[in-house]
């Protein structure tokens, strides 16, 4: 059952260029149908999942490719399958302007399957395998426009992720050698008698693996690829660089910390402090860079960098509460960020304005898009009553609960970055709605809102943001159960 | 320094010859001199081998008048190996010489570095 959930998008993707579609809408219906079918299957699977592990292939020794549905995978798979149909709908509208669509949708749908692969992976090796596959599948997407910057950006992205994967590989080896099994078991698999006196080496390896996976989760020294990947078309940057790719990096780190190395092994060690410092630095770095950036999508990319480090900050606190905070932010941030990216995409699609200072006075011309953009920026800022506040609340709660003085500094970083987010998001909103007295809206006269295909996903996301903000209790309880291993 | 250096003077000479051949092969720029160095090296090894087999006061291993006791003759194996080795060095020298001819005809020089420089100019 799990394997067909992963295979359907792969098949659908491959079939797109092959099947002869006379009209464009046939192709759309086919693709949208396939993606929706797959999401329904995933949700069906999540609702009444069986504990069995599905073995696909057997490598050497105890290494095998197998899938299982557990708490964490439910969250990530649910999130991805929830967002993907909407993103595909959006992509149809967006791609009317771009050329050679088939390759785009080919890789776009395959990425869906590969991300589900990562979500359902039952052991570190399968996750590593799909993790590498994700890099390879997303490179053509980044390279889609085939301009010179796109190629350079995709090359940089490829080098960074492959480099990261190489160092994560060492972590994988450690688990294979020093762990009892490579499967994911909450609380870690390392068995003490094998480790003996080599804890320091293992900690060093953990930090290296963290940095390895961190490359994809845009941890500070290795995140210059993310803003440059803004060159790709919006559905790519929105879905991949806000939801699929970077989140899989964060997901991998959570798996590594909680399900492989185990928190009681890492708790309170120098590894935790170094990693926490790196994460906190990234939080502040991301926001401050976003402040200076005038290109809209790059600004949102920098804000993704800092928000991702929120998730890592939650993960690095290494308590069940911390994990809950991390998962909450993982889910909520995905929704918030994808809506802001889609708004930016809609702006670009309608007026192909790329820079902040060109957005003067557009608020009234595109009320829906900018309204939703305002709501998502308020959510990102963490105004109570919207989703962002709840996730920040859980993260800070976990940090306070962990009694670790460094975590208190972490909270300060969270708030500083919230302030900086407020500044760079609201400056766009202010520029759009309050253009100033002597502003003539001659050039943007014929600007209007995009059609329903773009607006529907945006509205759904906004509803989700508000719903999560106001009535987040059941979701957070579910996440807490996931973190404490009930599922 | 072991005891037998002056006793095995033959092998010492072989070793020195070997090094001379080795240096020539490595450092000489002229191809012909390299091949000469090669031959010196090979013959040094065969000298070394021959020295191995030699036992003072014994005859060559050809059965003369029916005497087949081991003490009468020297050890035949090294000479067998030498015989095979010589053919190897002959064939290798032939090959190297033909290569040198082809290079000389083409580039009119025997200096390997100059050949490399001309090749780079050719660029093919």
């Amino acid at each position: 059952m799990i394997i067909c959930v992963i295979l359907i998008p792969l098949l659908a993707g491959i079939l797109v260029p092959l099947l002869p579609f006379r009209k464009r809408c046939h192709k759309e219906i086919f693709l949208e149908g396939a993606v929706i079918l797959n999401s329904i299957l995933v949700w069906y699977l999540l609702l009444h999942h069986s504990e069995s592990t599905f073995l696909l292939a057997h490598f050497t020794g105890d290494l095998n490719i197998s899938f299982r549905v557990d708490g964490m995978s439910m969250v990530f798979a649910g999130l991805v399958s929830g967002l993907w149909p909407l993103a595909t709908l959006y992509a149809f509208e967006y791609m009317t302007k771009e050329d050679h669509e088939n390759t785009f949708f080919l890789f776009y749908t395959i990425t869906y399957g590969v991300t589900l692969g990562i979500a359902f992976a039952a052991n570190l090796l399968t996750m590593y395998f799909f993790y590498e596959l994700l890099t390879l599948v997303t490179v053509p997407l980044v390279m889609h426009t085939l301009t010179r910057e796109a190629i350079l950006a995709s090359r940089k992205y490829l080098y960074y992720s492959l480099g990261g994967a190489a160092f994560a590989f060492i972590g994988l080896i450690m688990i294979i050698v020093y762990g009892t099994t490579t499967d994911f078991i909450l609380g870690g698999v390392l068995d003490p008698l094998k480790i003996g006196d080599r804890t320091n080496v293992l900690l060093l390896i953990y930090v290296m693996a963290f940095m390895g996976f961190g490359v994809k989760a845009a941890v500070c020294p290795f995140n210059s690829w993310l803003p440059q990947a803004g060159v790709a078309p919006t559905p790519v940057t929105a879905l991949l660089h806000a939801v699929a790719v970077v989140k899989s990096g964060a997901f991998a780190i959570i798996r590594l910390t909680y399900y492989s190395f185990g928190t009681d092994f890492l708790q309170g060690t120098w590894a935790q402090t170094t990693v926490m410092i790196v994460v906190m630095f990234t939080i502040v770095y991301g926001c401050s860079r976003a402040l200076k950036e005038t290109h809209i999508k790059r600004r949102l990319a920098y804000s993704t960098i800092s928000n991702l480090s929120y998730i890592l900050f939650g993960a690095v606190i290494m308590t069940p509460l911390g994990l809950t905070g991390a998962i909450t932010h993982l889910a909520f941030h995905a929704v918030m960020k994808i809506s802001s990216f889609f708004c930016a995409g809609a702006i670009m699609h309608q007026t192909d304005k790329r820079y902040v200072h060109e957005l003067n006075g557009m608020g009234y011309k595109m009320p829906w898009v900018f309204g939703i953009f305002t709501i998502s920026s308020l959510a990102l800022m963490g105004v109570p009553g919207l989703a962002g506040f709840i996730s920040k609340w859980n993260l800070a709660g976990a940090a306070v609960d962990s009694k670790n003085p460094l975590a208190y500094a972490g909270i300060a970083c969270l708030l500083i970055s919230a302030l900086l987010t407020a500044i760079y998001m609201l400056s766009i909103v202010v520029r759009a709605f309050f253009p100033g007295r002597d502003f003539d809206d001659g050039p943007i006269q014929n600007v209007h809102d995009p059609n329903w295909k773009m607006l529907l996903p945006l509205m759904v996301f906004t509803v989700f943001i508000i719903l999560f903000g106001v009535h987040s209790q059941p979701i957070v309880d579910f996440f807490y159960d996931v973190a404490t291993g009930v599922y | 320094m072991g005891p037998n250096l002056f006793v095995n003077y033959g092998e010492a000479v072989a070793a020195i010859l070997f090094c001379i051949g080795f240096t020539n092969l490595l450092l000489q720029t002229n191809l012909i001199k390299k091949i000469i160095g090669l031959n010196i090296m090979d013959s040094a090894i065969y000298l070394f081998l021959a020295e191995k087999g030699y036992i003072a006061g014994r005859a060559a291993p050809i059965v003369t008048n029916g005497v087949t006791s081991a003490e009468a003759y020297i050890n035949p194996i090294p000479s067998g190996l030498v015989l095979t080795g010589i053919v190897v060095s002959v064939s290798v020298s032939a090959l190297m010489l033909s290569l040198t001819i082809r290079l000389y005809v083409r580039y009119h020089t025997l200096n390997l570095d100059e050949i490399a420089a001309q090749l780079k100019k050719e660029g093919k």
């Binding site: 490598f59 590498e132 060492i170 | -």
Partner: protein, 497 residues
């Protein structure tokens, strides 16, 4: 002593004899003979492998009427038969892959000479794999060197001859040192047969006499073989030799020839000196350090390289560095990893060479990097094959590169002192590999403008495409079902001593 035991002897004699036969046949007939011989040898060693796997222990085969220390002897174990089978597969595929290019590279009349060289190369490889006698090994090493040199310079272009000269000089140095070490070993132990040498060496070690000459002879033999198999400091000849020779010869040279010498080194380590004695000498650390340096500098010079085939040649210097790093670890797991890497590197490297030729053919024959843009679209099969090959080199799961990297890392973890160095260098060299291979993959898949070059479809180079697909399947097979192969290697190594 049932009939199957004769198979190793049959395969060696068959390939030797086919060499002589080809001298009188015209080019086409020689080609057929060559293909038939390779297939039969492959089948023979396959059956032998099956027989040995269930019999479980290696057997000795007298070459002549007299038992071992007096007459020559062949010893066939699981590992030898496996390697022989693998060599035949790779050789057949490389020959088939490069066949269509042969006509414009080698003169019409000299085709049969070309096939003679290939046959004799095969026979020397088989002999190297099977022989149990040091001096026979030396003789067949010579045959291997001369035929390899022949393969390099058969294209008779200025560059290939100069590369052949450099190759000959370096390998003659190597074989000179090897022979000298051999003689010293003979002088100390009095035997030329590997198993007997082993007993006398262990005897010598116990009562502690002749220590220095013993170590010097081992060192000389190792250095000799390292020079011949192009380990890092002695790799100057490799890029020219592989870069400019014909297609199939480049594939065969890079994957089989240097591996033959490494296999001989493994036999020396296991059968002549004994694994633990070899570990006690400091030579291991030297090999380890040279291996590490090879991995780094090989990839670095590959990044700088402008010509695609020289780049692949430099990458094989790096891969040989991997193998010697495996030796240098001095553990059983390290050795298993190296042997597996020999197989995986052979498969991947020949795939890359043949795919590279497919790409250069399609971009007007020029090997410069810039002309290759968009070659992936023009020659789809070569593009896909090259991508698969580079993914395997980079170590993406599902390919054989990943498994060998996995085995190396697992082996490195057990070794106490060298673990961190090995792991970090492994990581760095993967990144370096990624850089220059992915640079090429991206280069061939960026859409070039309106280039005059033709675009080849499947029809007009059927054989070449089929060969590429077979290579990719072999690679994936090694990558996915690697467990039986690893068991076979372990069993073979156990049987080896």
């Amino acid at each position: 002593m049932d009939f199957i035991c004769n198979f190793p002897f049959f395969s060696i004699l068959l390939s030797l004899f086919s060499g002589t036969i080809c001298s009188i046949l015209p080019g086409k007939a020689a080609k057929i003979v060559n293909r038939v011989v390779i297939i039969t040898v492959g089948i023979l060693s396959g059956i032998l492998l099956v027989y040995l796997l269930d019999s479980g222990e290696s057997f000795v085969y007298w070459m002549g009427h007299f038992p071992a220390p007096w007459g020559n002897e062949i010893r066939a174990g699981v590992l030898e038969a496996g390697m022989a089978l693998f060599f035949c597969i790779i050789m057949y595929l490389s020959m088939a892959g490069g066949a269509h290019k042969l006509f414009d590279e080698v003169e019409e009349s000299k085709h049969n000479l070309y096939y003679i060289l290939i046959n004799l190369l095969l026979s020397s490889l088989l002999a190297l794999v099977y022989t149990n006698d040091m001096f026979t090994a030396y003789v067949f090493v010579e045959i291997n060197t001369i035929s390899a040199c022949g393969l390099i310079m058969i294209r008779q272009v200025g560059r290939t001859i100069e590369a052949a000269v450099r190759y000959m000089i370096m390998s003659l140095l190597g074989s000179g040192l090897l022979l000298f070490g051999l003689c010293i070993m003979y002088d100390l132990t009095g035997h030329l047969l590997m198993s007997n040498i082993k007993e006398s060496v262990s005897l010598l070690i116990q009562n502690g006499e002749y220590q220095i000459p013993l170590i010097v002879s081992i060192a000389l033999m190792c250095v000799g073989l390292c020079i011949k198999s192009a380990l890092f400091p002695f790799h100057a000849w490799l890029p020219d030799a592989y870069g400019y020779s014909t297609v199939s010869s480049a594939a065969i040279l890079s994957s089989l020839v240097s591996k033959g010498y490494i296999f001989l080194l493994i036999k020396i380590i296991y059968r002549v000196i004994g694994f633990d004695i070899f570990n006690s000498t400091r030579i291991i650390d030297v090999l380890f350090v040279f291996g590490l340096m090879g991995m780094i500098f090989g990839s670095l010079s590959a990044i700088k390289e402008g010509d695609i085939r020289r780049m692949i040649a430099f990458s094989s210097v790096a891969q040989i560095g991997y193998i010697y790093m495996g030796f240098g670890m001095g553990t059983q797991a390290g050795m298993v990893a190296s042997v597996f890497h020999i197989l995986s590197h052979a498969a991947t490297k020949s795939l890359l060479f043949i795919a590279a030729i497919g790409l250069t053919e399609v971009s007007g024959g020029s090997r410069k990097f810039i002309d290759l843009t968009g070659a992936g679209y023009r020659n789809k099969w070569a593009g896909v094959a090259f991508t698969a090959g580079s993914l395997s080199m980079v170590g993406v799961p599902l390919f054989s590169g990943f498994i060998s990297k996995l085995l190396f890392a697992q082996a490195a973890v057990q070794v106490e002192g060298k673990m961190l160095a090995a792991l970090i260098v492994l990581g760095i060299s993967t990144v370096l590999n990624a850089i220059y291979f992915m640079k090429t993959v991206i280069r061939i898949y960026t859409a070039a403008g309106d280039t005059p070059y033709p675009c080849i479809t499947f029809k007009d180079m059927k054989v070449h495409a089929v060969v590429l697909i077979l290579f990719v399947i072999l690679n994936v097979l090694l990558g996915v079902s690697s467990q039986p192969i690893v068991n076979m290697i372990e069993q073979g190594l156990a049987m080896f001593a």
